[in-house]
Amino acid sequence: MSDAVLRVNNLQTQFQTRGGVLKAVDGVSFEVACGRILGLVGESGSGKSVTGYSILGLIEAPGKVAGGEIILNGKDITRLKGDAMRQVRGAQIAMVFQDPMMTLNPVLKIGTQMIAAVRAHAKVSRKAARVKARDALAKVGIPSPDERLEAYPHQLSGGMRQRVAIAIALLHSPAVIIADEPTTALDVSIQGQILAEVRRLADETGTAFVWVTHDLAVVSSLADDICVMYAGRVVESGPAADVIASPRHPYTAGLLASVPAEHEPGTKLPQVPGSTPSLANLPQGCAFAPRCAKAGPACTTTPPVQHFEGGRTALCHYPIEPVSCQPLSLTSTTYRSAS
């Protein structure tokens, strides 16, 4: 894909700790095109959120981006520092966080926070900034936006607050929005509304989304493409529908099998045995091998990236053979675009 707005190539993010160097992100690569939604899936500690923060240059000491490149609209932003990076953040690439209770300052009015965000990149009057903020609220489907500008965060519901956060991210029509588990803290019905809204925004504005989540059901209904992360690496990637219908990496298969929606009621729910390994103490070779039913002698060496047809990859010595049956859907609704 040459029309990628964001291309991440072999990203390395490390944390210097007393016990040594932790490779939280170890060679992650992916790309997103205009108007597309990429689901970045993984368990907690898999490095998916750190990937998001790395792209925005928000990694704080003792962490640092140690290698790789991040290309935004054809420009390398990996080494940007200080004010140069600040001018990219919020303008060309924005972020939405997990907990809408925490991402808005409780003691500042919504309007104050939005006007500050507008004026961080546009030299406009307070009044013009306010108009822009109001329009952004209207765009994400918030009723009576003028009143909301005067409200404090605690006067809005969780879903409403997350819409405000998305509106702030959209203010400067960024090329990419990185959303870090933005619906995890919300009720399922609200989550559905937000997902539908995001799909509509991606289609209408052409903004690309990187949707970081642990929830395969969300990804299956929203994302165009999928990247599954495990212990700081991308273990499988490809078009979302294909990956879910026929996973090639044993870890993806395990995750899919343990989603209750797909499971026959009354029988025991399969699990991925064991737990995510500590980054400080990763096994040699494939990090998933100790939990993998298919693991063989080769798994003590670093697995190769295997490329398959349909733009799919898997990081495995023994990938699962493709199945050719009807694609399964994890949920009855889908927000994926028809295109």
């Binding site: 001018q87 919020g90 966080f97 003691v107 500050a116 965000a117 702030i168």
Partner: protein, 324 residues
């Protein structure tokens, strides 16, 4: 809002009444004031006359009501020593103490908030650690001792500043103030600095703790993700958030600064209320003690009330609770 106000005012009133009873009983019920006023060996007629005059022969409760009644009419009694109305005596000393306390608070705020912000913004830096070390000294070293050191260094050794007294004053709005002249400033600088040190230590700690907390919050991360400059992050998010505890402490500490002025005024021979109360305690001038205590409690309660109201204005969450 009005309900909240009325409730707070009533509460404040209760506290003042309760304190007046405690102070009155404490000061009048222990010991016999008449022994202080006159030589115990003096003749019985004079004694009886004085007892009659000050109403010491009546039941304590009646004395209390007379005292309260007089107080409401602005009469807090007459000093045994100076033979002057106590209220006038204290009020004549009030400007000196207020001037000292406010100057000290100003010094503490102007230095403490920037230092605390810096220490909280770069908590691992050497300068931040030095600032924190200084703040520990600021509120653990007894203030009279710091006062002595200041006198020794700046007045005795260097000879830059006077060691005590108030210097020339100018009358402004009926109050005599030192800060209107350069020489007055040279007199107030050392005592105000001395009085400020404790508050300075406190403010640095408070500001630092608040800054560290806010800087690590998700909303600061979100603000950075929006591309807000560091100046804007600190100026908008950090300052607004820490302003709440700081206003509270500033208010509460204003009261205790008035009280701590007792020590500084003694060290620097500053003619304020604190010097008056120490002198009154040494000669057991009870009316002055009672009036001073009630006045200080009254000031305290008023300050707390104002702080509560400002607090409500600053923190929208409190405001909502109060309204509903």
């Amino acid at each position: 809002m009005i309900g909240f106000l009325i409730q707070r005012v009533l509460q404040a009133l209760m506290v003042v009444i309760a304190m007046s009873i405690i102070v009155f009983l404490g000061v009048y019920a222990i010991g016999n004031p008449i022994d202080v006023m006159i030589d115990p060996a003096s003749d019985q007629a004079l004694r009886a006359a004085l007892i009659q005059r000050y109403g010491f022969d009546r039941p304590l409760i009646e004395q209390y009501f007379i005292f309260m009644n007089n107080m409401l009419h602005g009469d807090l009694g007459e000093s045994f020593i100076y033979r002057l109305p106590v209220l006038n005596l204290i009020l004549s000393r009030l400007p000196a103490t207020l001037e000292l306390a406010l100057t000290a608070m100003m010094i503490a705020t102007c230095l403490g908030i920037p230092l605390g912000l810096w220490a909280g913004y770069k908590p691992e830096s050497l300068s931040a650690k030095a600032i924190m070390g200084f703040s520990v000294l600021g509120f653990s070293v007894p203030s009279f001792w710091v006062g002595l050191l200041l006198i020794m260094v700046f007045a005795v050794e260097l000879g830059w500043l006077p060691s005590g007294g108030r210097g020339p004053t100018t009358e402004v709005l009926g109050m005599n103030l030192s800060i209107t002249s350069l020489e007055g400033w040279s007199h107030i600088l050392l005592p105000a600095l001395n009085l400020a040190l404790f508050k300075l230590g406190l403010l640095i700690r408070l500001t630092r703790a608040g800054t560290v907390e806010v800087m690590s919050s998700d909303y600061v991360r979100f603000a950075r993700a929006q591309g807000l400059s560091e100046g804007k992050v600190v100026g908008l998010h950090v300052l607004k958030n820490i302003s709440i505890p700081i206003v509270t402490v500033f208010g509460l500490e204003l009261g205790s600064t008035l009280a701590f002025a007792v020590v500084t005024e003694t060290v620097f021979n500053w003619p304020g209320m604190g010097k008056l109360i120490i002198d009154s305690i040494t000669v057991l001038d009870r009316p002055v003690m009672v009036a001073y205590l009630i006045l200080v409690v009254f000031l305290f309660v008023m300050i707390n009330l104002v702080v509560d109201l400002i607090y409500g204005q600053l923190d929208p969450r409190i405001r909502v609770k109060a309204a509903s």
